[in-house]
Symmetry: C2
DNA sequence: AATGAATGATACTATATTAGTATCATTTGT
DNA sequence: ACAAATGATACTAATATAGTATCATTCATT
């Protein structure tokens, strides 16, 4: 079980690096060398970040990616949403109707409480924070 | 992404029910009706709980399962270990060597901190607690 | 204008995890 | 003897994650 999947992690790492470059255009091949992430998947991730408006891209020779959103405004939670979708810590009652009474199910209640705490923490984590406390 | 898988959830639900039966022998078919969990998988789960020493079983006609461990001594965390193995919130650096410097990787550090909080919470959750606060 | 280095879009394969099923031997109360 | 139960084990299916491949398009450089 993992909270952060590789794509999210790759994205965070790439953004961290880009944030340090202050607007320089960086190609995926440079990032590849820098991060050691398999190139094709790195490209996939970068393309997605571009579509999401976090990076802007420049096509053609000498092209690449630039960070366009402020590091302080990029939350790890956002990246997780993008690459992992909305998450819920508990699935049991979603697909089926297992909770005899969803409203009173204590497992659900407790796990949900933990989930909320995690979300709260994730919502404080920005790329900027990750940079600072490196 | 889910913190608690179905098997863990089924186990918790089964144990909750058994805890309320105070030592009565309950067959998997009764539990099946009670919980609405697919029978074969419920059996698998119960058998596992038996092997783990949480239940004892009685074979043969009128056989079934009885809770043998105290509800206050059964932690949700234990069930997760049994059915999900040890978990870690972050995989990136495990298989590969992506963290340029594992010791200083801030992503790792932060996620680990969150993970520890979750573990701490899970370690307070017992079947007894789940019963009480239903 | 040609070239090559880059991204965009998309579809595909592989691997791992989770979920669920099936089978048959063994036990035991009636 | 029989039916109702578990033990053990192996199997299939579904889903999620990870990674690859392809081809069209763009554009600085020459
Ligand atoms: S029974 Fe699974 S969450 Fe309520
Ligand atoms: S780079 Fe992924 S955890 Fe350090």
């Amino acid at each position: 079980m993992s909270l952060i999947t590789k794509e999210t992690d790759y994205a965070a790492r790439a953004l961290l690096f880009l944030a340090k470059q202050k607007g320089r255009v960086v190609s995926s091949s440079e990032l590849d060398k820098e991060l050691g992430v398999p190139r094709p998947i790195l490209r996939k991730v970068l393309q997605r970040l571009q579509r999401e408006g976090i990076l802007i891209s420049q096509k053609g020779n000498r092209g690449g990616f630039t960070l366009v959103k402020e590091p302080k405004d990029i939350f790890l939670m956002d990246l997780m949403k993008i690459f992992q979708g909305n998450f819920s810590f508990l699935n049991c009652f979603v697909r089926d109707k297992l909770c005899a009474n969803v409203k009173t199910c204590s497992i659900r209640k407790h796990v949900y409480k933990i989930e909320q705490k995690v979300v709260r923490e994730l919502k404080t984590l920005t790329i900027q924070k990750l940079m600072r406390e490196n």
